[in-house]
Structures are given as C-alpha cells and as structure tokens.
C-alpha cells in the first residue's frame, strides 16, 4: 500500500504555492499592470503638456513685459517731447512778451511760425484778471479764462490742469507772465485736447484693449485711452498707479480696470507733475499662448483617449487571457484535488477508503508508540447486506451503505475515524481508548444506531452489524495485525449470532489460525487424498442384525490429525469445494460397496451424506447417475442422506430431485428428522426411503418422561412418512428404551456406534 502521506503532501504544498502564486499574480495582474502603466503615461502626457503650456505662458508674459517696457519708453519720449515743446512755447511767448513792447506778441510769433500748429494748440495770453487778451483762437479773446488752480499762483512752474468745455476735455499748461521776478502780470496758457496725449495709441502694437494714460500728481487720470474709448478724470485703482517710483525697477503689474486685466507699467515723468501708464490686455497678449495651450490640451486629450483605448483593449485582452489561464489552472487543481480525494476516499460514502485508512492506522500506531497512547480498532460487517442488495437492488444497497456510514460517523466521537474497506465492511479507529470497558459502550451505541430501522426503496428494513474489536498495543503492534485480529473478532461475533460485538482474544487467534489452516488446506486435502471415509454398521433395533452401512467423511490432517466433518464442512460449503468433496464421498462409497460385493460380502445399503450446495447443484442428479454408472454400483444399495433442513429449504426443488434420484433407483434418507417440526407436513409429499431421527430426539430418550414421550411421538410420526426409521448414536441404555417401546411403536431398527474403515466386516 502506498504512503498516503506522500500523496497528500502535494496538496499542502499546492495550497502554499497557490498563495504565493496569487500574490505574484496580483503584481503581474494585467489589470494592475496596464492601469499603472496607463496612469504613468497619462501623468507624463499631462505634466508634459502642463509644462509646455506653462513655458509658453511665461514666454508670452516675458514678451509682454518687454513690449510694455518698449511702449512705455516710446510713450514717455513722446509725452516728454510734447511737454517740452509746450513749455518751450510758453517760455518763448513770455520772453517775447517781456522783450517786445507790443500787444500782438502771438501775431509776431505766428508770423515767424514759432507757435505750435493752431489746429491743435491754442495759445492764449491772459491778463492778471483772467481775461484773454490775446489768443490764437480769436473766439477766446475777451473771454474769461482762468483755470481754478492758477488763481494766486505766483511761482514760476508749469501748471497742468484739466478743463472741460462743451464735453471736450482739454489740458491747459500755464506759466505766469512776470516782469522781473516779482509781479505777476498775467498768464500764458496753452490748451490742447486731452486726446492728443493718447493719440499714439496703435492697435497694431497694443491690441484692441491696450491702455495709455496720463495721470496727474493727484492720482486722477487726465486722460485714459483704453482701446478705442477715451476717459478723463478717472481714478485708476490700486497703489501701483500713483506710488510707483521712477527708475524703481519698473515692475510689471497685473491690474484690472473696467473689467479688463492688463499687464501694466507706470512711470513718473521727470520734471513734470505727471505720470504715464501703459497697459496691454492680458487676454489679448495671452490669446496666442492660450490658443497654443488649447491646442496642447486638446492633443493631450486625444493622446490620453487613444492611450486609454489602446490600454483598455490590451488590458482587457490580457485580462481575459489570464482569466482563461487561471481558469484552466484552477480546473487542473480542482481536478487534481478530486483525483486525490477519490484516491483516498470511498466514492459512495465519502469515508476514507482502504488506502487512506491504512495510512491512518499506521499513523495511529506511530503516535501510539511515541506517546504511549492506546487506541481501539473496530471491524464492522453488516449482517444482512447481501440480502438487502439481492432483494431490494443495488441502489438500495448503496443507500444502506451511505446511511450506515452516516450513523457510524455520528455514533463515534468527531476525532475518531470511520472508514469503509469495501463491500459492507467498515472500520473505526477509536483514539485514546485503553480497555474493552471503554469500547463496549461505543460498540453498544453503534449496534443500537444500526439496529434502528432503515427506509430503503420505500420499505422499512432491519439490518444489524457485527463488530470485532482489537486494541493497540495489546492485540497487535502493527496495522495488519490489528486489522486481522479485529476481523477475527468480527468473525467470532458473526459466529456468535451476529448483531453483537466481540473482542479479540489470544484463544480466538489460535482458533482462527486453525480455521485458516483448514481453509487453506481443503483443496490440498482433496487433491492429496487426505480425505477418507469410515463406515458404521446399522443394526436392527429388535435383533441387532446388521442391516446397512453408513459412510462417514473424515479428514486426516497432516498437522491437526483426524478431523470431523463439523470442523471443515462449513468452510467447504463457503468455498464451494463441498460439491467436489460430496461427489468424491459418494464415488468412494460406491467403489467400496462394489469392492465388498466382489469380496462376497452381503448386499447391504451404504448411506452417504449429501451437503447443501451439492444437493442444490444443478448437475447433482447427473453426477450421481454418472458415479453409479461408472462404479457399476447397484443403485438400490446406495442411500443418499439429506439433512431435513436442506430438504425443507425448497420442497419443490427437493421433490424434483428426489423423483429423478428414484428413477435411477438410488434410495433417499432424510437426516436429522424432527428438528423442524413446523415443516414436517412438507415431508409427506416427498418419496422417502429412510428417516433418520435427529440426535437431540435420541438424547431425549434418556431424559424425563415427557421428553421421552415427545421423542416417541416424533419417531412415530416419522414411521407414518417413511417405511424405515433410524436413530443414530444410540447408547445401550437408550437402546433398551427402544426395546421397551418396540412392541408399541414397531421400530424397524437402530444402529450401533461401532465404526470401521474399509475393512472387511
């Protein structure tokens, strides 16, 4: 038997391997793998795009800062030049007024083309009362023109004011007209549309939402041009507008004015009470960058989409592949597990099978040796299984076995092992059990549970079990011995009437050894002619005359000596050898009879036993016929003795056989008459020659009066059925009883206990 442990070990290994395998699988799982890879690529794509966009953005910002700076420089130069021209004109007018004694100063200068274009610039001379005395715009003469700020101003500075006339914003530049450095005689005023200072706005360089502004030192804008709109008197919010210092690094501010975000620079003008502001719309400047960014983001989106599609497809494909592989793997494992299970378990009852049980017992033995733990081994065999199987069918038989397995399992402790060896044989290991006293209650419990009726194929069915028990270490130290001994004990239980439990004993062992020796020796006995017949004479009860011979079977065993049929016939019946043995006996008896006849002996009947299987063998009659023919035996001298129990087993068959045998001319005797009273009536239909009274009835003759009367009655009854009635093993005392009752019962005879072999008598 192979070692189940070795076979089992792959299972534990595979379980462990499976675990680590799974963990590896998780890492190599395509879903994870592709997800992580896709995520990485997505991160690269989007961070790369973000980086590019950022770079583009900052490049544009840098470019914008440069642009704003350049525009600011240009604007500053133009404003300063315009202011210088204005200031120069003011000074020129004053100088001319002071040096020329004329009231037509402006005309003089105009004639010399020293005044700025009258189209834009209006130069006026105002007297100390604020009345225009002279102007390039003749409409202003005699008008009152005094900018509020100029009243009372006497120091020689260039004053800048905002004047709004008829919705037109004008800037006025004023210097006092003084004689010497004391008295203010009036003022020289140059006025110009505020628009002039933002007329350099160019859409080409500044866009549609750029900004130019000229801011006074009060923080209010003299004029602001934002796109195509021109505003005045506006407060430009935020500190940078006013506080920004000239040459202070000129940072670029992001400002919001009238809903437009602009990159803005502010510069305070040197020597003029003015600041200039240049702004470029953030949206416009970043439009290109944003367009590019949008393109980048779109591309990133497309790339991501494509990537996801590709990776999803790949991942899905790979996942399916892996699933398939895993499924195959799992199927294989499952299959292996099933195979393993099948190898070690009984398919019908799911109990451990013989191989596994053998391993378990071996283990129990090893553990028992190591820890000195005793255990018991029970060997069980269902008593009527064959009957159930035959009468109710195999399905019911299988069901019975399954049900039995359940009952057995529930009858013992969970730690105990119930196994099925095959057929209707079960075995149980009871752990940590050290005496018969411990086993008995468990055995009782098992017997009780099996005794409960089974319901098979819709019928209530009663089954019992025979149990044999052996104990480790008392009844054996190895698996085979323990099982063998338990088996013997079980056999003993069967012998003892079934439905019981027996324990193995040394005596039982010996007995069984003998039995085994007989079993194994029978065939040999037949072949080697160890069997022989001995003969007994039959005597008439009235005068003691020899009326026949009875042949008796014996086995001259080389070791055990001379054996009686009772010691080996049952075994021969079981093995079927009885047919050959029985025929041999008949043949031998015939030969002997013929021999005696030839030697001149009187023609006496010779009686030979016929056994059950021999009798029910279908060629029995033919065999008898052949033997009679072959030995040239006179058939009427051969008497076949059939036990009453055999005869009554199937009366119809028996009647048929008896009839055939009568045809041959062979006589028939019923042996052991009177054992089965209930069926005695059946005997009357049989053509009998002789009845042999059962030994118990003969024994009763020496018993009480009533027992004697019963025996007489049966014998009398036998007389009615058969022309001859015999009793056997009759003692002299009993003989006298027969003698006594002879007149009344008219016995025909009896026979003595003398025996002889094939000697001449």
């Amino acid at each position: 038997m192979s070692n189940p442990f070795y076979l089992q070990s792959p299972k534990t290994e595979s379980a462990y391997g499976n675990h680590t395998h799974r963990r590896l699988h998780h890492l190599a799982n395509p879903v994870w793998l592709f997800s992580i890879l896709a995520l990485l690529l997505l991160i690269i794509i989007w961070s790369g795009t973000y980086f590019l966009v950022k770079k583009e953005h900052s490049a544009v910002e840098r470019q914008t800062a440069l642009s704003v700076g350049e525009i600011l420089d240009t604007y500053e130069a133009r404003v300063v030049r315009a202011l210088r021209e204005i200031d120069t004109t003011l000074k020129l007018v004053r100088f001319t007024a002071n040096s020329v004694d004329s009231s037509a100063v402006l005309d003089i200068l105009q004639a010399q083309e020293l005044l700025p274009p009258a189209l834009l610039f209006t130069v006026s001379v105002v007297n100390e009362r604020g009345v225009v005395v002279e102007s390039t715009n003749s409409l202003l003469i005699e008008q009152y023109l005094m900018s509020p700020m100029q009243s009372g101003q006497s120091n020689d500075t260039l004053a800048v004011d905002r004047v709004i006339t008829d919705d037109v914003v004008q800037l006025t530049f004023t210097r006092p007209l003084m004689s010497g450095h004391e008295t203010v005689l009036g003022w020289i005023v140059i006025s110009i549309d505020a628009d002039f200072f933002v007329s350099s706005y160019a859409v080409r360089s500044m866009g549609d939402q750029g900004m130019l502004a000229l801011v006074g030192d009060d923080g209010l804008a003299h004029v602001v041009r934002a796109g195509s709109e021109i505003y005045s008197d506006e407060v430009l919010e935020g500190t940078p507008w006013v506080k920004s210092k000239r040459d202070a690094g000129l940072p670029l501010f992001l400002t919001t004015w009238r809903g437009e975000e602009r990159y803005t620079m502010v510069r305070e003008l040197y020597s003029f009470p003015l600041s200039i502001v240049v702004g470029l719309s953030k949206n416009e400047q970043l439009a290109s960058a944003q367009a590019i960014a949008k393109k980048y983001w779109q591309r990133a989106g497309w790339a991501s989409g494509l990537l996801l599609v590709v990776f999803t497809a790949l991942g899905r494909f790979s996942w399916k592949l892996q699933q398939e592989r895993q499924r195959v793997m799992e199927e294989r494992i499952l299959h292996a597990e099933q195979v393993e299970h099948l190898a070690f378990h009984d398919a019908l009852t799911e109990l451990p099978n013989r191989a596994f049980f053998s391993y378990l017992v071996t283990q129990a033995v090893r553990l028992g040796e190591r820890h000195e733990e005793p255990f018991a081994l029970l060997f069980l065999d269902l008593d009527r299984f064959k009957l159930v199987n035959d009468s109710l069918g195999h399905e019911a038989g299988d069901h019975l076995l399954q049900e039995t397995a359940k009952r057995l399992t529930s009858a013992v402790r969970a730690s105990d092992v119930v196994a099925r060896l095959g057929g209707d044989e079960f075995v149980i290991i009871l752990h940590k059990v050290d005496s018969q006293a411990c086993v008995t209650p468990i055995a009782e419990k098992i017997l009780d549970s099996v005794r409960e009726p089974f319901y098979l194929a819709g019928k209530e069915c009663h089954v019992s079990v025979s149990i044999g028990a052996s104990l480790f270490p008392f009844d054996g130290l190895d698996e085979q011995t323990l099982i063998k001994n338990a088996d013997m004990a079980m056999y003993q239980a069967k012998q003892a009437g079934k439905n019981t439990a027996c324990f193995y004993t040394t005596e039982l062992g010996l007995e069984t050894d003998v039995r085994l020796m007989l079993e194994s020796g029978l065939q040999r006995a037949l072949d080697q002619k160890e069997l022989k017949l001995i003969y007994k004479t039959k005597h008439n009860s009235s005068d003691g005359e020899v009326i026949g011979i009875e042949a008796l079977l014996r086995w001259q065993h080389p070791v055990l000596g001379l054996l009686e049929p009772s010691q080996f016939i049952s075994m021969a019946e079981e093995s079927g050898l009885i047919v050959s043995i029985g025929n041999w006996a008949i043949e031998q008896a015939c030969k002997q009879s013929v021999l005696w006849q030839e030697q001149g002996a009187p023609a006496l009947t010779i009686a030979v036993d016929v056994y059950e299987r021999q009798f029910y063998d279908e060629v029995f009659v033919k065999s008898v016929n052949d033997i009679v023919a072959a030995t040239r035996m006179r058939p009427e001298l051969l008497e076949l003795q059939v036990a009453e129990s055999i005869v009554l087993k199937d009366v119809e068959y028996t009647a048929g056989v008896f009839k055939e045998i009568k045809k041959i001319g062979v006589k028939i005797a019923v042996d052991d008459f009177g054992m089965k009273y209930s069926k005695l009536s059946s005997l009357k239909v049989l053509p009998l020659d002789v009845l042999k009274v059962d030994a118990t009835l003969v024994d009763s003759l020496s018993g009480t009066y009533s027992e004697q009367q019963l025996s007489f009655a049966v014998i009398k009854f036998g007389q009615c059925l058969s022309p001859k009635v015999f009793a056997k093993e009759v003692s002299p005392q009993q003989q006298s009883v027969f003698m006594h009752g002879l007149t009344a019962l008219q016995f025909h005879g009896f026979y003595s206990s003398e025996t002889f072999e094939n000697r001449k008598f």
Partner: protein, 141 residues
Amino acid sequence: MLKRLNMLGASVLLSVIGHAATADVLLVASVEAPFTRLASSELTDIYLGRRTQIGKGLAVIPLDQSGNSIEREEFYTRYIGQTPAQIKAHWSRLIFTGRGQPPQTLSDSRAVIDRLVSDNTTLGYINAAYFDDRLRVVQVE
C-alpha cells in the same frame, strides 16, 4: 478750360442750392504753378502730410485755413473725404508721434490767395467768390 470752369460753376451752383450754409470751395494754385492737375490720392496725401512732392520731385506746399472756417470744413469733406474731427485726430497722432507738421494755416481765403500768388509751389483752397486771374483751378482726377 472755360468749359471746365462752367462745369465747376454749375457744380458750385448745385452745391449752393443743396447746402445753403456751405461755401463754394475751389482747389487752386498760382497760374504759374508747375502743376495743373492732381490725382485724388495725391491731394489727400499732400494734405494729410504723407507726401510733400508729386510726380518727379515736384515739391508742393499745401495751405490750410483756420480751424473754424466754413471753407475748411467744405474742403476736407469734399476733397479729402474726411471730417475736420478726423483730420484733427490725424494730425494729433502725427504731431504727437513726431512724424509731421500740419499744413500752414492762414486766416482766410484772401490770405491763402496772397500766399499762392507769392509762391507758386503752394496749393490751397479758397472760397470760389475770391477766385481771380492770378489763380488757376487745380484739376483733381
């Protein structure tokens, strides 16, 4: 020539009927001026300061009238195709950015005629009422 004058006269008449408040304006130069006709674009360019010469290096100096005269408004509207406000903005930008100076401004048609007669490289516009033999109407094509 006369025919043309008549045509001009007719157009002047028409415009007088159409716009009672407007003056009849003529683009004129001295009879001795080296040019007798100008392309419309040349005229516009000269008055908007985009060029100072016509043909092959023939210098032409434009003359303007003072800002609030009727002739001026008429001239710019009809000959240049722009309003005085647009002209002002134009010169504003040019002066501010330092790219030019507007034409010399004279007080009225009379002053323009005096100047035209004294300098035959000049070009000007006058009220038709002041037209005389010293002048020649410059054809605009």
